[in-house]
């Protein structure tokens, strides 16, 4: 397992920083341009959620391997207000900030694996994996 690199999200421009790190990592692993764009967009969504709802948090990137393939795993962690109803936020069009409400369900569709854990008042942890085909 390769060491992970983390990006702190405090300002809006940190989203760009996180995207850059993720994109570089994806490029090095050999992802194609389409998957690179998918990964960068997913990072953008996760980072923006941290910035919008939790004020500050962290996104960590990791190269993961199983028997057949390599992949990139990103974990977004924050200590924000948490999510009350997870099934609700995974619905298309649900938003509390006047946006499109496509962020989290979109990330799930962009990535291969998606895992959301949240505790109200304590924070949210989202893990998303994209495998190299």
């Amino acid at each position: 397992m390769k060491p992970q690199s983390c990006v702190n999200i405090n300002k809006e421009w940190d989203i760009v920083g996180a995207r850059q790190v993720g994109r570089d990592m994806a490029k090095k692993l050999g992802f194609g341009t389409v998957d690179q764009a998918r990964i960068a967009t997913a990072i953008s969504e996760l980072a923006r959620n941290i910035y919008l709802y939790a004020d500050s948090g962290q996104i960590c990137f990791e190269v993961i391997e199983n028997m057949q393939q390599q992949g990139i795993c990103m974990t977004a962690i924050d200590t924000g207000p948490g999510i009350e109803d997870i099934s609700q936020v995974m619905q298309d069009g649900y938003t509390t900030s006047g946006g499109l409400g496509a962020g989290l369900p979109g990330v799930k569709r962009l990535m291969d694996e998606f895992d959301l854990k949240s505790e109200e008042g304590k924070g949210t942890k989202i893990k998303a994996v994209k495998w190299l085909r």
Binding site: V16, R38, T41, S44, G99, G106
Partner: protein, 289 residues
């Protein structure tokens, strides 16, 4: 007490400079890139140590500190060069005064440290402030420069306007885009606005949301907004995200968008009769005479 130490330091400045130089040189290999030539490093070190000594003897702020920090910035050397250098100076000087003292007890020792700190601290503060202040100045200038080129609007021809977008779109810029777009449409009396996103690296829900809002606002004031420059990978991510861009026309390239803008404004591009043919015709008519 302080004056006594100062006297020791100034009288033995050569030895202290020598010791300082050795220490700083050994730091060079660890901390800084090897691209700095030895002569430049040596001469800058000399200047640095002169600045330190002149600040100790004068006790006041001097112009040389400013000049020196500016030089370091222009050379592009890291801030750690300054802080390391002063840290080494503090250590070396304290050591040297200790070796020169006859009786050493804890009181004496703390006096030495206090004096040396008093000399070095204002210098650290001033140099670091100068250095970071100059960086902040550069950053703020760049921010202004970026803002100036963040949402340009180009009236290419009567009734057709283009807004090329390059680089990341954040909330601030999204607001500017909307304002410039609407202002420009009214000002240039445009019927069609082409928004080109070829240079936007990532289109996430936030960016898409702002584009949709801008296009809707343009529609409200009676013009058409065509989104152009959608790269294949961006198209795929937009579909994956489930964003509906069906409310306004989109095109893959600026060229295609421009063609349909011409159609909307009832115009088309016509090739002129080629030059060669007309010249040949002229020659023919001349020969006929």
């Amino acid at each position: 007490m302080d004056e006594k130490f100062k006297k020791i330091v100034i009288e033995n400045s050569d030895t202290i400079v020598q010791m300082w130089m050795e220490e700083v040189n050994s730091l060079k290999n660890i901390n800084y890139t090897a691209t700095i030539s030895d002569e430049l490093f040596e001469s800058t070190n000399r200047e640095f140590v002169n600045v330190i000594f002149s600040s100790i003897t004068n006790r006041g702020t001097s112009n040389s500190v400013e000049v020196f920090s500016e030089k370091i910035i222009n050379l592009g050397w890291p801030l750690s060069y300054i802080t390391d250098g002063l840290q080494v100076f503090r250590r070396v000087t304290a050591d040297y005064i200790l070796t020169q003292s006859e009786k050493v007890d804890s009181n004496h020792f703390s006096n030495i440290l206090k004096s040396v700190d008093l000399w070095v601290e204002p210098l650290i503060r001033q140099l670091v402030n100068e250095y970071s202040g100059s960086w902040e100045h550069i950053v703020s200038l760049q921010r202004v420069a970026l803002q100036e080129l963040s949402a340009p609007l180009i009236p290419v021809m009567d009734k057709i306007t283009i807004m090329p977008l390059i680089g990341t779109i954040d909330t601030e810029r999204a607001k500017l885009i909307m304002e410039n777009l609407l202002e420009g449409v009214i000002k240039h009396n445009s019927e069609v606005v082409l928004m080109d996103i070829t240079g936007v690296p990532v289109v996430d829900t936030m960016v898409a949301h702002h584009i949709i809002q801008a296009a809707e606002a343009v529609r409200l004031i009676g013009s058409t907004c065509i989104l152009v420059g959608i790269r294949p990978e961006i198209a795929q991510t937009i579909v994956n995200l489930g964003i509906d861009l069906g409310k306004f026309p989109t095109k893959s390239s600026l060229k295609k968008g421009f063609t349909s803008a011409l159609e909307i404004t009832n115009r088309k591009v016509v090739d002129l009769e080629s030059k060669e043919a007309s010249i040949e015709k002229m020659i023919d008519s001349l020969q006929g005479e």
